[in-house]
Each structure stands twice: as structure tokens, then as C-alpha cells.
Symmetry: D2
Subunit: 116 residues, 4 copies
């Protein structure tokens, strides 16, 4: 299997909410990494455990409130760069019947694929 | 930076369409890895270069048509397991003014974050 | 129900943030309207101007913070019904260079289509 | 325009796949209705029953293949206007244990809300 997973967060305590964040700035040209970097920097400032993927940033938190506060900070960081409009997408995977983490979720799927 | 990126696809030719796929089966309990594994297996059968993330699967193709054919195969693979309903989300990042890949997209954002 | 069709929000003051909300409960069968109704009820309790569509609920607010508070309330209302897991998707269309509303956005697109 | 408000699709035969489509063009300024109109026009040319909402366009089809062909046509219509990059999001609600339509889905949720 060619896919990847993050050995970096092996010691993460099992947390509940896994969040996908994607911010698309309009009217800023077709290359937007330099702008999006400010959103990611905000996650770093807050000590959020995150993963960059080619389509979104994924992070984990232990409450919905914390998740949304982080989203708000990242979203505002982009506007502080002078951006006039964004389409910001947030997906919360909130599961309350089992402990898991970003890592365990990927591991679980990988194992299931290997069994087939 | 704690984030990750895929050293595994260093030699990938630069391709155009980067696709995010997420399939959520309804009515199959709260643990769905065993079902989703069939969708991923479909990507493997087709030789698609993909990355599993905690929230979605990301892959790259060189045309919209190919992207959608892969999505269709993965989506149908889930229904073949007896699933009665899914919410399947597909996001296409289609850029026609620059060559890039899943890897170069992540690298570009990482570099921009490091400069801040 | 205070919601839905465009003529009903003719007098809306022009507000900034337009929000799309979709909550998918896992493990609750394939028919989930009875559960999602509690999320919508939360919007009504808060006096939020919203529109039901076949795929999502759309509402408008005058700040990101208010938008996220409403999302949180709707999301929690679903868990209060005993749901164990949801995938909750939120999309914020935040535009700061022009006043507009849910209604003006649709009108603007309709007019552009008619011109073709 | 053949689209939009629920009373207009009262006679629709009950179909299976309900599709949400959103196309965000990058690098084209913050006002993009004039571009997106070409995507909607494509739906009209194909005789697709659709609904414009403030955040997305929703349509219904009777197969996944047809749904994806329509998405492809709408997506390409935007590139034909000279756009260089889009983030195009497609959500398929595919339910195989019950007949329903865009209209019946909204009606069902409205009724559930009224009962609370």
C-alpha cells in the first residue's frame, strides 16, 4: 500500500473530535500557499496537533468548542492578510462511543484494507 | 512542525487533478472501517496513487473523467457490501496553469509556513 | 416554521456570513429526519434565518463567532438524542468587500444565468 | 429558468441520487456569479431538475453515472470561461432502500421539525 500515516503523533492521548479544515481564498490568484500558511501558523501557535494533507488540514481536539475556536483563529488569520472572501469548510468527526485519535483512525482503516 | 508528508511518492509525475474522497455509510453502526476498506481496495486495484488521512482519502489523476470513474468505482464498492445509503463527498482541486502533485502541494504549503 | 422560501426573507438586513450546515448521524439507520429535526429546532429557538435544502441547511449571521455558536448548538442537539457519532460539515462563505444576503446571492446567480 | 422552488417539482418522479454541487473559482476576483452561471446553464441544457441555494446547487438524477456526467459538464463549462483553477465539491446522497426526491427529502424534514 502506498499510503502514509503519521508516526509523529504516536504518543497522542486519545481524543474525541477530529477536524478537517480547508480555507479557499477568492480573488487572490491561483497560488494561495503563502496566504494559507498564516492559518497553519495559527494552529502552531495554539499547540494544535495537526496533519497537512494535499487537500485539507486535519487536527484533533477534545471538545467541539475548542475545535471551533481553532477554526475561527485560522479563518481570521487569513483575513488579516487582506483577503476579501473565503469559502472555509470544516468537517467535524465527533464520536462519543469510543476513544480514538487521528492516528488510530488511519491505522484502523489500513488494517481493514490489509485484511481484504 | 509536527505535520507529515509522503516521502513515498517522490517520483510521481506531476499531475493535474487532486481529489479528496469521503464516503459516510448510514445505518451501519458507528464503526465503518471494515466497509470503507472496500472503497480503498478499489483504488488499489486501479493502481491509483492515494493517501489515507484521518478524515478522507486523497488521490491524484490526470483527468476529471478518470477522477470521477475512480470515485464511482469506490462508491459502488461500498454498496456491494450491502450498505443502503451513503453520503459521498468528492472535492476536485483542478488547476490548469501549473503542474503540481499531491506532494508538491503539501511541500509548497510547508515551505510557506516555515518562512513565517 | 419560519424558514425557507426566498420571498420570506425579502426584508433581511444584508449580512455577511452565509453558512451551510449538514449533520450526518452514523449508526441511526438510513432515515434520519427525526433526529435532524432537533438541529433545525435549535436554529428556530435562536431566531436564525435559515433555508432548508435537499442536501443541507443554509443560514446567515453577522459574525463568524455567531455562526459557530449556532453550529455548536445544532450539533449538540443531535447528540442529546442519543446519537453516538456524526460527521458534521460546515461551510462558511465569508465576504468582506460587499454586503449581501442568502437572498441576494441566489438572485445574483439567477440573473447571471438568465443573461446567457 | 426551470429551477428552484419546491412547488415547481411537485410532479417529479421519485429518483434516487440527490447531488450537491459547488464550484469555487480561484483567481477570478471575489464576485463569481457571472462565471458560475455557465455551470448552471449546462444543467439547463441537459434538462436537469435543479435547485439553486445560497451555498450550492442541488439536483437529482437516477444514477451515479448520470450525476457524475452532469458534474463533469458543469465543471468544464467553468474552465471554458478561462478560469485557471477551481475547487469543485460534489456530494452524493445515494439511498437504495427508499424512493425519494429533492422535494420529499425537504418535506420529510419540515414535517419532523413541525412535530417537535
Amino acid at each position: 500500500m502506498k499510503s502514509i500515516y503519521p508516526t509523529e503523533y504516536a504518543l497522542t492521548p486519545e481524543m474525541r473530535i477530529i477536524v478537517e479544515l480547508s480555507i479557499v481564498p477568492l480573488g487572490e490568484g491561483t497560488s494561495v500557499s503563502n496566504i494559507l500558511a498564516y492559518a497553519i501558523k495559527e494552529l502552531e501557535k495554539k499547540g494544535v496537533k495537526y496533519e497537512l494533507t494535499p487537500m485539507c488540514t486535519v487536527f484533533e481536539t477534545d471538545s467541539v468548542e475548542e475545535a471551533l475556536n481553532i477554526v475561527k483563529a485560522a479563518h481570521e488569520a487569513v483575513f488579516k492578510q487582506g483577503v476579501k472572501r473565503t469559502v472555509t469548510t470544516v468537517k467535524l468527526d465527533d464520536r462519543r462511543d469510543a476513544e480514538r485519535s487521528m492516528r488510530s483512525k488511519v491505522d484502523s482503516l489500513k488494517k481493514a484494507v490489509e485484511k481484504l
